[in-house]
């Protein structure tokens, strides 16, 4: 018998609802991203966005899946990590649905869900994952029953760096796609801090240096070009360090920044050098969305895990390696 899971995502500025079956079919995947007119994301505004749009998005997801609420067997929700107000709104919606429909509630780690939906799509068994988004920059691999963070940013996430720089350069939010387009016209490379520490990296120095280039009237395309090449080169190096260290044979790229074609090109090169398979998660599953939460919910539920509503408080600082991954064979 197939199980149907409604997954609800809302850790940051995006709210999403997705419906996935236990055979790994994504029946629907609806989301909306808060795009502030100016400035960055305010947690309170993000949570208001979720509570205002959440019900419509969930209804749309159920309708587009061609099912009714009574067909849903499990509710899964992103319990963390993320912004407290966003998480609490999302969790409240999920709890309400689970109680109302009298079905199990499953709490999902947002970062783990990004990896598992990538594995579903790529059919990878045990990849090194490069997870890059507005809030996260991590290189993760499975070892000893958990997803372990081999490397991560020591300060700001790569997507955050791109967004803040984009704001400085007069671009809208999110700035990543604009920076990618503009960078194509860049010709002159300007030196920027290349900061790799073991398998960790740092982007704050690069942000400061790029802003300085802007104040010195360096052409915007050249700034974008230089930032992309340096930032992605650093990611390539930590991915290579993780591949060399773990000796795994698959490389997975996921998260919102995975949509960047130049980054994909560089990591394809990395995978060729190390003779590993490579997969970039498709655009609709790369960013924050509900399908990944739903799929992870199914994996967890089938391994015997669910959570009682009274125990389901959110975990804004939930680490990737804090959760026992019972559905994967320990290596």
């Amino acid at each position: 018998m197939t199980t149907i899971c409604l997954g609800i995502e809302g850790t940051a500025h995006s709210f999403g609802a997705g419906i996935v079956t236990s055979d790994g079919k994504v029946l629907s995947n609806e989301w909306d991203m808060l795009k502030p007119e100016q400035g960055g994301i305010h947690p309170r505004e993000a949570s208001r966005h979720h509570s205002e749009l959440g019900p419509t998005i969930i209804n749309d997801a159920v309708r587009k899946a061609g099912i009714g609420f009574r067909d849903v067997d499990i509710i899964a929700f992103s319990r963390g990590p993320g912004l407290g107000p966003s998480l609490r709104t999302t969790a409240t919606i999920a709890r309400t649905l689970a109680l109302k429909l009298c079905i199990p509630l499953v709490d999902v780690n947002h970062c783990v869900a990004h990896i598992e939906i990538g594995c579903l799509e790529s059919e990878f068994a045990d990849p090194v994952t490069v997870y890059v988004s507005g809030g996260n920059t991590q290189v993760i691999a499975f070892a000893g029953g958990r997803f372990r963070t081999f490397g991560e940013t020591l300060d700001i996430a790569i997507g955050n760096m791109l967004d803040v720089l984009g704001r400085e350069l007069g671009m809208g939010f999110p700035a990543g796609p604009t920076i990618e387009t503009v960078a194509k016209d860049g010709e002159n490379y300007h030196n920027l801090p290349y900061s790799v520490k073991g398998m960790d990296l740092s982007y704050s120095g690069m942000l400061t240096a790029a802003k300085k280039l802007h104040s010195e009237n360096v052409l915007v395309p050249d700034i974008c070009f230089s930032v992309q090449e340096t930032a992605f080169g650093m990611l390539a190096e930590v991915a290579e360090r993780a591949l060399a260290h773990t000796k795994k044979s698959e490389l997975l790229l996921t998260g919102g920044v995975a949509r960047n074609n130049r980054l994909t090109e560089i990591l394809t090169g990395v995978s060729e050098r190390h003779e590993t398979k490579f997969h970039r998660v498709s655009s609709s599953l790369a960013g924050d969305q509900g399908a990944m939460i739903a799929w992870n919910g199914i994996l967890q539920y089938n391994s015997g895990h669910q959570i009682r509503v009274e125990d389901s408080h959110v975990l804004p600082k939930w680490r990737t390696d804090d959760q026992d991954i019972n559905w994967r064979k320990s290596l």
Binding site: P81, R146, E152, L154, D200, E237, E240, G269
Partner: protein, 208 residues
Amino acid sequence: MKQMLALGAESIIYKIEQWGQYYVLKWRQSKPYLLDKIDSQLRKVRINRECKMLTISRTLGVRTPAVYSVDLYNHTIMMDFIDGTQFKQLAGQIPASELVSLCHNFGQLIALLHNGNVVHGDPTTSNVIVDKNSRLWLIDFGLSEMNATLEMKGVDLHLIQRALETTHWDLQETMLEATLEGYVEVQDDSAESILSRMKEIRERGRYH
């Protein structure tokens, strides 16, 4: 004879035979997927740095392979071949007492570097070789730096903790404790501030 030992993140390591002895040849090959300017700059900086830091570290009392020749055009370094086992591979196979004593020694070596204001930059257990006499050798100094600040030393210790938790998760407490014990023993009076910086760095990552 030229036998490939490892494909590293930024180089290929060969074992070669010359003058009746074994040596290691480390080749930083070009990476066509990187911007050429970044690639050539990294290869140049890292090879220079590695040669220099291998030698400087030895003057600080840490065993490192001696460098015999450097080719800045082809980006190769020829150095001692250390006959031994990677600490990473050994850690799970030896008795606890031996493990503790090796970690203790590892911590002491890192402290010797730090006392000389040098950081290793990538202090994982892959970059420690244990020879037949249970002596530790540090290798892979491509990310090493001089004039290290408190912050850089803190990062170095943070990286040790990171390596232990990802690679030796079932032994990490024992290994970290022994390593830091050795570290504090040899470290000048600034041990306390470096250790607290290490904790601070760990908390700094967004979700830690």
